[in-house]
């Protein structure tokens, strides 16, 4: 079991910055995120877009901000459980928590900070009859284990980057890859579009456009899909169907944790410390709500800072502490590193 002081659910900018503020208070953090990489929306939705409202940065790329935050928290050695979704929470008699993910990873923490943003990113599912029946029986929304597809017949639907990228990748190992899209145009990186064009010419990717998957067939497991192309319906034998229509954030299992929810967000006490109705569970960043709430990264940073102070006081009742400035006191990393301002000298000049 993973053990930590503050378990942060969501590794977006707010969650990452919380690691820094916690580190200054000698509190160790571990983060869980449903996505395979840290950064949340910034890395998943708009890595290349500029952000103009981070104080002190006239403009900063979204991924650049994430990279900087990762660098800023490195000396506090945060742990990460990525590609897993926080599923259940249990409060123990001593006031600590056990959080278990959808893959069964257990985390023991003295406090929990939900920094889940808009929620965990879930695949957008096409409206097909019996879709759920074939999930994990031929219908996959992610390529988690490429080996699953080796030597198989694959159909991929979608017109964006992930449809293009996975078609390219799987064309190397699958027996057959068919890419199906409703339009002739694809929306993706120029390189990827070029590559698919090339693979199509080599016969390694079958391209079906404008076409749509309209049905699934098979006895207990997917055996074929129905494809409608320009008004003509046909059937195609496949082992796997991978619809890639993007991801949509859902509050997900957190909604069932007994927290007060309002407007798809978690109600917190903003007069004090962003704690929820359950003592020891905090909510910071886009996932929380209170009168006057603004979903801004800079507000998330502020909330993370106050949350950490509150956790410190809660875990160390009666132990005196006063806020210190990093400029004055420097930073002592958990890795033994020390950063500090250059000392002034007192010396006579002859």
């Amino acid at each position: 079991m993973i053990s930590t002081d503050i378990l942060i659910i969501g590794a977006g900018p707010t969650g990452l910055f919380a690691v820094f503020e916690a580190g200054l208070l000698k509190l160790k953090c571990h983060l869980i995120d449903a996505l395979p990489q840290p950064g949340g929306q910034l890395s998943e939705l708009y890595p290349k877009k500029p952000i103009f409202d981070i104080p002190g940065y006239p403009s900063v790329g979204a991924q650049e901000l994430v990279d900087n935050l990762m660098e800023q928290i490195r000396q506090f050695q945060p742990g990460f459980t990525l590609n897993e979704r926080a599923e259940t929470i249990e409060k123990l008699d001593d006031g600590t928590f056990i959080v278990t993910t959808d893959r069964g990873t257990r985390h023991h923490a003295r406090a929990v900070a939900i920094a889940g943003g808009l929620g965990s990113f879930e695949p957008r599912k096409p409206e097909l009859e019996n879709l759920e029946m074939y999930e994990e029986k031929g219908v996959e929304y992610f390529v988690r284990n490429p080996e699953l597809f080796r030597g198989r017949k694959i159909a991929i639907a979608g017109g964006g980057d992930s449809a293009l990228d996975w078609s390219i990748f799987l064309s190397e190992i699958a027996e057959e890859v068919t890419l199906i899209h409703r339009r002739n145009e694809f929306r993706g990186a120029l390189d990827s579009v070029e590559k698919v064009r090339e693979l199509k010419a080599q016969g390694k990717i079958h391209l079906l456009t404008p076409a749509e998957v309209t049905g699934l067939k098979g006895d207990g497991r997917l055996e074929a899909i129905t494809i409608e192309k320009e008004g003509v319906s046909s059937e195609k034998a496949v082992d796997y169907f991978i619809p890639l229509f993007g991801l949509t954030p859902k509050l997900g299992p957190i909604a069932g944790w007994g927290l007060e929810i309002e407007k798809n967000a978690i109600k917190v006490n903003n007069a004090l410390d962003y704690q929820t109705n359950i003592e020891g569970i905090y909510a910071i960043g886009d996932v929380n709500t209170y009168p006057g709430k603004l979903k801004l990264i800079l507000c998330g940073f502020h909330e993370a800072t106050l949350m950490c102070q509150s956790v410190y006081n809660r875990l160390n009742p009666g132990r005196k502490y006063v806020l210190k400035y990093t400029t004055v006191s420097g930073i002592d990393g958990f890795d033994g590193s020390r950063k500090e301002a250059e000392k002034a000298v007192v010396q006579a000049i002859d």
Partner: protein, 109 residues
């Protein structure tokens, strides 16, 4: 003050006449959010970057609208419940030309 009137039918089928400011660089998606017609987190999820299509709406009457960009066209081609009169609210900025516009919000997907 330069406001226009826009009619919006929400996802429950209720019609609202909204006063829309044209001088605050707002778009249709933001207008719907400002009036809180739908639950937070179900519309304009990506913040208006033209990435999630959660602000899809159907244009009900003949008002001159800006042409669809390639990006909008491409995103609509990946969205669900798309009809010939589908648009993305985040791509339609509020201008005086929109006076009298009537739209219906597409279902959540």
């Amino acid at each position: 003050m330069s406001d226009v009137n826009i009619k919006v039918k929400d996802r429950k089928g209720v019609e609202h006449t909204l006063l829309a400011p044209t001088d605050m660089s707002m778009n249709l998606m933001e207008l719907v959010r400002a009036y809180e017609l739908e639950e937070e987190g179900t519309i304009g999820i990506c913040g208006g970057m033209g990435m999630c299509a959660s602000c899809q709406c159907y244009v009900l009457n003949d008002v001159d609208l800006p042409e669809k960009s390639d990006e909008e066209e491409a995103l609509l081609s990946e969205a669900f419940h798309v009809k010939s009169n589908s648009r993305l609210g985040c791509q339609i900025f509020l201008t005086r030309d929109l006076e009298g516009l009537e739209i219906e919000l597409a279902p959540e997907s």
